[in-house]
């Protein structure tokens, strides 16, 4: 890559070929358009600066994905440092039983039934967005990327007990929000 013009042409091709795939991957994990664009932009910036170190051992696409994933992990870490890990638990009373007014109710139809799934997912996504970013990160790592709790603790540098409190609160809140906003309960 001795000629700048060649390097620029090649890089532009990479952006055209892979930006959408990277953007979709990021959006699935951070659920925020501007943030996903920033993560992709930063990844390309890093790719540009390190183009000489790309030796072709993996595909360009894989190489770009490695960069993006490390940016996403940095993002997760920064929200884990920033967000308060604990909050007040309004769902349980002082005896640790369900608080009146927060009792779970039966849902009359299966939310994943194709007939109602579209409406359900609208609510599901908006409820997910209402969670703290650190809670969203934990859910994504666990249920989208399939990591185990110990791996998530390591990535986020949090203790197992902090992880379980986070998970517990996030689940109870998400369930309650879905129930409150989904008509088909």
């Amino acid at each position: 890559m001795q000629f700048t013009a060649d390097k620029e042409i090649l890089f532009s091709q990479w952006v055209h070929d892979h930006a959408d795939a990277l953007y979709n991957y990021a959006f699935r994990r951070v659920a925020d358009e501007p943030l996903s664009k920033d993560l992709v932009q930063e990844s390309f910036l890093s790719a540009w600066r390190n183009m000489e170190s790309y030796r072709g051992e993996t595909s360009v696409k894989n190489w770009l994905f490695v960069i993006l994933k490390s940016r996403i992990i940095d993002h997760y870490r920064s929200v884990a440092r920033k967000d308060e890990l604990h909050g007040t638990d309004v769902f349980f009373d002082q005896d640790d039983h369900w608080q009146k007014g927060h009792y779970p109710h039966e849902w009359i139809s299966d939310p994943l039934d194709p007939l109602v799934a579209k409406d359900f997912y609208k609510v599901f996504r908006s409820c997910n967005k209402k969670l703290k970013q650190v809670q969203q990160s934990v859910f994504t790592m666990k249920y989208v990327d399939g990591l185990e709790s110990a791996e998530i603790c390591e990535v986020l540098s949090i203790s197992p007990s902090n992880f379980w409190v986070l998970m517990h609160r996030a689940k109870v809140q998400l369930r309650a929000c879905i129930e409150k906003n989904w008509i088909n309960k």
């Binding site: 532009s12 358009e33 540009w48 640790d96 369900w98 249920y143 185990e148 998400l174």
Partner: protein, 81 residues
């Protein structure tokens, strides 16, 4: 060790059970709690649905427009100056 657990503990055990982190004793405590607590039974069922919803979430393909891609390219080139 007491054999009865609270609802809060049961919710915690439900999450840990997904990863096989419960001992036989804890599994028994959870099973016993779910036998008598309809609220936690509902929670447990809906928790499974929510997990499935994460796994089955339909992809909503998104595209960056040419202008946004152009901006990414320019930002990289300009970072050299």
């Amino acid at each position: 060790m007491s054999t009865s657990i609270t609802c809060k503990k049961a919710v915690d055990y439900i999450s840990k059970k997904e990863e096989g982190l419960l001992t036989a004793g804890m599994r028994f405590q959870l099973w016993r709690h779910l036998m008598i607590c309809s609220l936690c039974r509902i929670f447990s069922t809906q928790n499974k649905i929510i997990i499935k919803a994460f796994n089955k979430e339909p992809e909503t393909p998104k595209r960056l427009n040419p202008e946004e891609k152009g901006q990414m390219i320019r930002a990289a080139f300009e970072s050299d100056h």
